[in-house]
Symmetry: none
Subunit: 150 residues, 2 copies
DNA sequence: CCACCTTTCCCCACAATTACCCACCTGCGG
DNA sequence: CCGCAGGTGGGTAATTGTGGGGAAAGGTGG
């Protein structure tokens, strides 16, 4: 499921974050009501619950004694929470995720091919700035983008 | 059974540790009430009792005279204790495990694909710090994560 | 075998957090 | 000018987490 668009909101003192109306509709179209959010890349990844379930299946295959991958799982699965938007369309972001993503006041929510992402406005500016400045000068990245054939 | 989420608690002077409410519910859904906890990777692994039973079956296959694997078993099986949450949802962590995992005050409990883990906050920070800082710079780990296709 | 000390179990009570309401404000279209 | 949809703020009740007391169980030494 693809999500499109960029939205700017605020997080309130209780840790509630509004989900863009189009994204909520998108979820309901598929008969779902829950998202799973987790931490990665300095922001919060949000997947429709069904899609997350498929990810979990893949993650379950990792051995309990695989040092490296378990370190990754601790972070990725440990960050994951299922959330259901309230009557106003907001979700409650747990303190650990709020802290990780540095969510304090102004947020940016951006659509992505199989999920959407919640950023603090500050980190968002950095991330985008990084691409605009360095992105075009990184030959390897340019090659990878080209190979997408778009 | 997958456990999701990261929770921060404290261990009290009696050695009692709160189990996250969602994890307790998860256990009850399967008609169980006990966990088995043991020591590994600098933290405490906690499995639903039924899942631990399956692990024990596999461990039973190890020969009594297999030096190397028996060394592992002494540690892994020797550390294992069955625990049942009290009315408030807490378990009592035996002194030996408390000492092994360095549990003194602040704890982090993290969900994992087939278990959850109890960490001292300090060790948790080290473990996660290692991933956040070096994780993305470790080509082998990056390759392994990519190969999960998530 | 008994007495004592320590640890564990089972309550109760309070504090903090979360879930679930309802109300308002603002911008846009009819 | 009104109605509606989308976004923000707050109150209250229920749930969850933390601390502590006292009884029961277990272990140790005389």
């Amino acid at each position: 499921m693809i999500f499109r668009g960029r939205f700017e909101y605020t997080i309130d003192p209780k840790g509630r974050v509004n989900i863009p109306a189009p994204f909520r509709e998108r979820l309901q179209e598929t008969g779902q009501e829950a998202f799973v959010i987790t931490n990665y890349s300095g922001c919060i990844y949000a997947y429709p619950a069904d899609d997350w379930a498929r990810i979990e299946e893949k993650l379950s295959a990792v051995s309990s004694v695989d040092r490296k991958l378990n370190t990754f799982l601790r972070f990725f699965v440990g960050g994951a929470v299922e959330v259901v938007p309230d009557k106003q369309g907001r979700i409650l972001v747990p303190p650990s995720l709020r802290e990780y993503a540095g969510l304090e006041k102004d947020l940016v929510i951006t659509g992505m091919p199989n999920r959407f992402e919640i950023w603090s406005r500050e980190k968002w500016m950095e991330e985008i700035g990084r691409f605009e400045k360095e992105g075009f000068e990184d030959p390897e990245l340019e090659r990878e983008i080209k190979s997408l054939r778009i």
